[in-house]
């Protein structure tokens, strides 16, 4: 399949590392800043200190992720073990198609026998398991090509560690819950006279949820493109996968396209040989905006703690932006694979997606900076209203 990205799985995993790194900019960047200090050997102590800070946060986020996953599972139909004879037959069929590495996950597969459609998803955070519909199980047992293609897509999610998405949700919950716990502690103990009132707390929480929701949706959609690209690699049949997508289950309702790109976008991605993974405009704009905010914080924040955090954030964002510029070289060949080719940067146009994302991210950035300048003691009201205005305007551009 000439022109298709070659190193899909490697890049999918690296993307997670980068996202996690950006979640802990101070802990990651701090040791390296020490290399430029008068005592560079403090770098070793910096690594240890960062690890001590990161580990409990990671553990807590993983616990929240496991809880979020369990809660999500509670709203889904119950699963059943697949009978041994059927499991052996399905496993043999899948090993023949995808090779020995699929055996372990095939053996631990569970089913929703009451659903006779073709469908699957992955459950479990610490130990991901494939869950297939009853109809899909029959398809796999009979070697149906559509069923195998759907399974290849879910296998890709497992190989790409996409259960990290639930950790992302856990992190959001951690932020919101932590903020409410801190608020209640301050209310009870009155230790912080500048603590937020209830209205400001709700406003700030809503603002954070808006921003995090946009991020979560973008991350989830990109993981679907990665899974599609990998599934095509596993099945070696682009036309069959395109046909499957055309008959794909439409995701309806309010959350219809929140986690998944539309079917037409996914088909376009195939036709463009996954240019969407070679040149991720969203992340370029995001790292530019995040780095700008960090730089402004470093230069103008009065609080040295905030200023230092801004410096770390700016350095991290700069590093990630460099990676994004080099992304086309890392994933594979293609006309837009040169970092500075025309297609490597967002096209400028009122309704183009790049412009819309850029507007949204820069808009959020401006709102944060403006709110901090106008009302440094309590910026939450301005942030909540401003953030909502930016979001509504960006949606109207579509």
């Amino acid at each position: 399949m000439t022109g298709f990205p070659q190193r899909v799985t490697v890049l999918a995993r690296v993307d997670w590392l980068l996202l996690i790194a950006f979640t802990f900019p101070v802990q990651i960047v701090q040791p390296f800043l020490l290399l430029f200090s008068p005592r560079p050997l403090l770098f070793i102590g910096g690594i240890i200190e960062s690890a001590i800070q990161i580990v409990p946060l990671v553990i807590f986020v993983c616990v929240m992720a496991a809880l979020a996953d369990a809660l999500l599972g509670a709203f889904r139909p119950a699963t059943k073990d697949v009978p041994q004879v059927l499991s052996d037959r399905v496993t043999a069929s899948l090993v023949k198609q995808f090779g020995e590495p699929v055996r372990e996950i095939a053996c631990s597969m569970r089913a929703i026998p009451g659903d006779l459609s073709l469908g699957a998803h992955v459950r479990g955070f610490f130990r991901p398991r494939l869950v297939v519909s009853g109809g899909m199980l029959m398809g796999l047992a009979r070697g149906d090509r559509n069923a195998q293609a759907i399974l290849a897509h879910e296998l890709a999610h497992v190989q790409h560690h996409d259960r990290m998405l639930i950790a992302f949700v856990g992190m959001i919950v951690f932020e919101v819950v932590g903020r409410f716990i801190k608020f209640n502690v301050n209310e009870v103990s009155n230790v912080d006279p500048d603590s937020l009132g209830v209205g400001s707390l709700i406003g700030l929480t809503l603002y954070q949820l808006t921003v995090f929701s946009v991020l979560l949706s973008c991350v989830s959609r990109y993981r679907e493109y990665y899974a599609d690209a990998r599934a095509i690699q596993l099945t070696h049949d682009v036309d069959a996968y395109r046909s499957l997508l055309s008959s794909g289950a439409r995701h309806k309702g309010l959350l219809g396209n929140f986690f998944h790109p539309s079917i037409s976008d996914r088909l376009d991605a195939i036709d463009q040989q996954y240019r969407v993974l070679r040149t991720v405009h969203f992340w370029k704009v995001y790292w530019l905006a995040a780095g700008s905010v960090g730089f402004l914080q470093w230069r103008f924040a009065e609080d040295s703690f905030v200023s230092y955090h801004g410096l770390c954030g700016a350095v991290m964002a700069a590093g990630l932006l460099v990676f994004e510029v080099l992304r086309p070289l890392l994933i594979g060949t293609g006309e837009s694979s040169r970092p500075f080719s025309r297609g490597a940067w967002p096209s400028i146009g009122w309704t183009s997606r790049g412009f819309r994302y850029g507007f949204m991210l820069l808009g959020f950035t401006v709102v944060v900076v403006f709110a901090d300048m106008v009302s440094p003691r309590d910026p939450s009201h301005i942030m909540a209203v401003g953030g909502a205005v930016v979001y509504v305007i960006s949606r109207s551009m579509k």
Binding site: G114, L116, S117, L118, A120, G139, A141, A147, A249
Partner: protein, 136 residues
């Protein structure tokens, strides 16, 4: 034995011969439940709106309709042929009876090719349970 249990048992016996892998689906089958497509919903779910060709739902429909007609002593010609076959001790169905069963399976929704494959198994199941069917 109530009608639902009889339909379940007949379907299970037919599936043992036609499509034993579908037995796993039988216990949880509920045409009124809104589970179709539930597995592919939510984050990282994937599915297709087409479905695998299964024999089970159509066999259930066939046995339900047949038992209803039998109980109502329907004047349906195909039903009468099948009922006449069940009244005999001859295991092997005549071509007319096989054709009648085939027509009823197609009427229940089974594709013609699958119906052809299922005829002898369905006839054998009906004949083996004729005593129970006679009580309906």
């Amino acid at each position: 034995m109530n009608k639902a249990q009889l339909v379940h048992d007949l379907t299970a016996k037919a599936l043992e011969q036609i499509a034993p892998e579908e037995l796993f689906l039988l216990a949880d089958y509920d045409p009124t439940a809104a589970q179709f497509g539930a597995t592919s919903k939510g984050p990282q779910g994937f599915g297709a709106e087409t479905a695998i060709a299964l024999a089970m739902p159509f066999l259930i429909k066939f046995f339900e309709k047949f038992i209803e007609k039998l109980a109502a002593n329907a004047a349906d010609s195909t039903c009468k042929k099948i009922a006449g076959y069940l009244a005999t001790n001859t295991k092997a169905p005549t071509p007319e009876v096989s054709d009648a069963i085939r027509q009823e399976l197609i009427a229940a929704g089974l594709p013609p090719g699958k119906a052809d494959q299922a005829v002898s198994a369905v006839a054998a199941v009906l004949h083996s349970q004729r005593a129970v069917l006679a009580k309906t």
